[in-house]
């Protein structure tokens, strides 16, 4: 279908732009990588020959543009390089961490959607009434809370005051599935709750205008129940901005997962990134950013596909 082709073509340059920009920016970071590695390995001051050899090995003697294209070429063969610090292949490091982070993100999104949709529907349906005002006030309160405070508060409530969930740590899914999920609830809720206010508000706004539509009046005149009308007639046409925001908030979600993975000691990509930046492991950082860019591009593609699923007119109209 033309619509999908056009959307994919749109996102390819985005991917290149992100990886290129991050490559350039990492290159601008202060400090010398060769020094960092050599000083770490040996206690003596490295010789100029050692430095040159290592620079050559890591291609650091070549201009940054060339290095980017070397990296890009390797990437397409599935090789993201090896960590400068511990020589572990970047793909391997990512492969260990990605499932953990993906699970966290997906759970966070499910919780965010699961909370935001009913609240948005109630709020929009009862617009201007006490329940709507209450929900809106709550949403603004949540919006004002920083992520790490939200996490801390949740830990205090559900792990200390009423200890039903673990406050930190990660259990392997294969070993203990329930334990794994339990461990993810609080961190996922932390990220999810932060997303809820915006999602809920956009759904509310769109729903209010959808409910003015004649086809809602027609559905009422057919004797359909309020719940049926909300879920079967109004929700889909009201969810465009919602889906868009969901895609755009992915950026927040990734930032959020860095904070949350640190706070809850979860060995995900976010934590990997923090550690890599600490160690000035540029190639690993680049690998993480590539992964994030891919996720971003993928999710936005998904969002575009969702438009077409939600509204047949989008697919018919084309790009």
């Amino acid at each position: 279908m033309n619509y999908f082709k056009a959307k994919i073509l749109h996102l390819v340059p985005v991917f290149f732009l992100v990886t290129f920009a991050s490559f350039m920016m990492l290159n601008l970071l202060p400090g010398d990588l060769v020094d960092a590695i050599l000083l770490d390995e040996e206690s003596s001051v490295p010789s100029a020959a050692d430095r040159a050899a290592l620079e050559k090995e890591l291609n650091l003697d070549k201009p940054v543009i060339i290095r980017y294209f070397i990296w890009l070429g390797n990437m397409f063969q599935g090789d993201l390089g090896r960590s400068y610090i511990n020589t572990q292949p970047v793909t391997e490091a990512l492969a260990l961490r990605i499932p953990v982070s993906l699970e966290l993100m997906i759970m966070a999104q499910i919780l965010a959607i699961g909370i935001a949709v009913p609240l948005g529907l109630i709020s929009g349906y009862k617009a201007g009434q006490p329940i709507d005002r209450g929900i809106s006030a709550g949403a603004f309160a949540v919006l004002a809370v920083p992520l790490f405070i939200m996490g801390t508060v949740l830990i205090w409530i559900f792990a200390i005051w009423w200890p039903i969930l673990p406050s930190s740590g990660h259990t392997d899914f294969a070993k203990d599935a329930w334990g794994n999920i339990q461990g993810f609830i609080l961190p996922a809720l932390t990220i999810g709750l932060i997303e809820v206010p915006v999602l809920m508000r956009v759904l509310r706004t769109d729903l209010i205008s959808t409910l003015q539509e004649d086809y809602i009046a027609l559905a009422k005149s057919k004797g359909m129940s309020t719940r049926y009308i909300l879920f079967n007639h109004a929700l889909r046409p009201s969810s465009f901005t919602f889906i868009t925001i969901l895609g755009l908030q992915l950026g927040n979600l990734i930032t959020g997962s860095i904070v949350v993975e640190t706070l809850f000691s979860i060995p995900g990509v976010g934590k990997l990134l923090i550690d890599a930046v600490d160690a000035r492991d540029e190639i690993l950082v680049q690998g993480v950013i590539t992964f994030v860019a891919l996720v971003y591009v993928g999710v936005n593609l998904l969002v575009d596909l969702m438009y077409a699923v939600l509204d047949p007119r989008v697919a018919a109209r084309g790009a």
Partner: protein, 338 residues
């Protein structure tokens, strides 16, 4: 109740109905004390300009306006002897779709753009008529066929965007007919359509009305449509019915000056070009602030002092069924017209 009483009783009896909107700028008197009856199988035309309250009236009868306190209701809507205004939300849902159905003005916006046509028909059959999916699909195809759309089975899978305006309005009629209602309210069903298509849709409505012995309330701003397609007529102005009688009687002998003015302001095909139109001066009153006395007095050429202060009731001369609300009804002129 015994069957013969049920038969002699009017299908719909609206008694002193008020629908007021509580807005930040004041209370809008959209429907302001309206009474009328409608028998089975009859077509009532409700004619008026924008802001006359005719659409609000239809939405009040089928009860699809808000109940959040922003709309104030008073009066009775008796349907087969039951007051619909007394019913619970759940009981009222049983009435909507099954007993009373509605067709809206703009078929471009009254069909859900993201739902297949089939689904929009079958949900009535499944939810209201208790059919299973398979028989609902069969019935939906029959309905599509009966409103004159070719390839019924194919149409069920399509979305509204695939159909022209006229075809969409046919689908909307099929949806309304799905619950086999006794009363169909059509709110300006052809205003958004081309003239040739308008005639087709009105013919379709009339055909269905006759076959099913449905009562129809046809809301329109067009006296020509009223004249061609209705048995009785109610003329609305600023939230009130100002004249009500059989359609031919109204066309021949309008008593209310507003009705006459409405007839004269529309150009006639039989008039030669450049015939000066008898325009009604001024504007319809703001429903937030209706004038004292007769609401038409500011624009009425026959208005007297009494019209400024006293609101005329909807009454008839003697035993006549021709009701009008006017202190100075047209008499001599009316004879000349017929």
């Amino acid at each position: 109740m015994p069957a013969d009483i049920a038969e002699s009783q009017p299908l719909l009896e609206v008694i002193d109905l008020y629908t007021h909107f509580d807005t930040p700028r004041g209370v809008a008197h959209a429907v302001d004390g309206i009474s009328f009856t409608l028998d089975r199988g009859r077509t009532l035309g409700v004619v008026g300009e924008s802001g006359s309250g005719k659409s609000v009236l239809s939405r009040t009868i089928i009860d699809i306006l808000s109940h959040d306190g922003s709309v104030l209701y008073r009066g009775k809507v008796m349907f087969e002897g039951r007051d619909l205004r007394e019913l619970s939300q759940k009981e009222m849902r049983e009435v909507r779709g099954r007993e009373i159905a509605m067709v809206f003005q703009d078929p471009m916006s009254s069909l859900n753009p993201v739902k297949r046509i089939g689904k929009q028909i079958t949900e009535v059959l499944v939810k209201r008529m208790g059919m299973n999916k398979a028989s609902a699909n069969l019935r939906a195809a029959e309905l599509i066929d009966s409103v004159g759309i070719p390839d019924p089975e194919q149409q069920l899978k399509r979305y509204p965007m695939h159909l022209s305006g006229g075809m969409r309005q046919r689908v909307a009629i099929a949806i309304a007919l799905a619950g086999e209602p006794k009363l169909l309210i059509a709110d300006e069903p052809t205003t958004a359509l081309d003239v040739t298509i308008q005639a087709q849709i009105l013919d379709l409505l009339r055909k269905q009305q006759r076959e099913r012995n449905m009562a129809v309330i046809l809301i329109t701003h067009n006296l020509g449509i009223v004249s061609g397609y209705t048995d009785d007529v109610a003329v609305m102005y600023a939230g009130k019915i100002v004249e009500r009688c059989e359609t031919q009687e109204l066309m021949n002998r309008p008593r209310m000056p507003y009705t006459e003015a409405l007839m004269k302001s529309a150009p006639l095909l039989s008039d030669p070009p450049h015939t000066r139109l008898d325009a009604i001066p001024g504007l319809p009153p703001n429903l937030l602030n209706v004038p004292d006395g007769c609401r038409f007095h500011e624009r009425c050429r026959y208005a007297t002092d009494r019209c400024l202060t006293e609101l005329p009731d909807l009454t008839a001369d003697g035993s006549s069924e021709h009701l009008y609300a006017c202190w100075n009804p047209l008499e001599v002129k009316a004879e000349a017209l017929s």
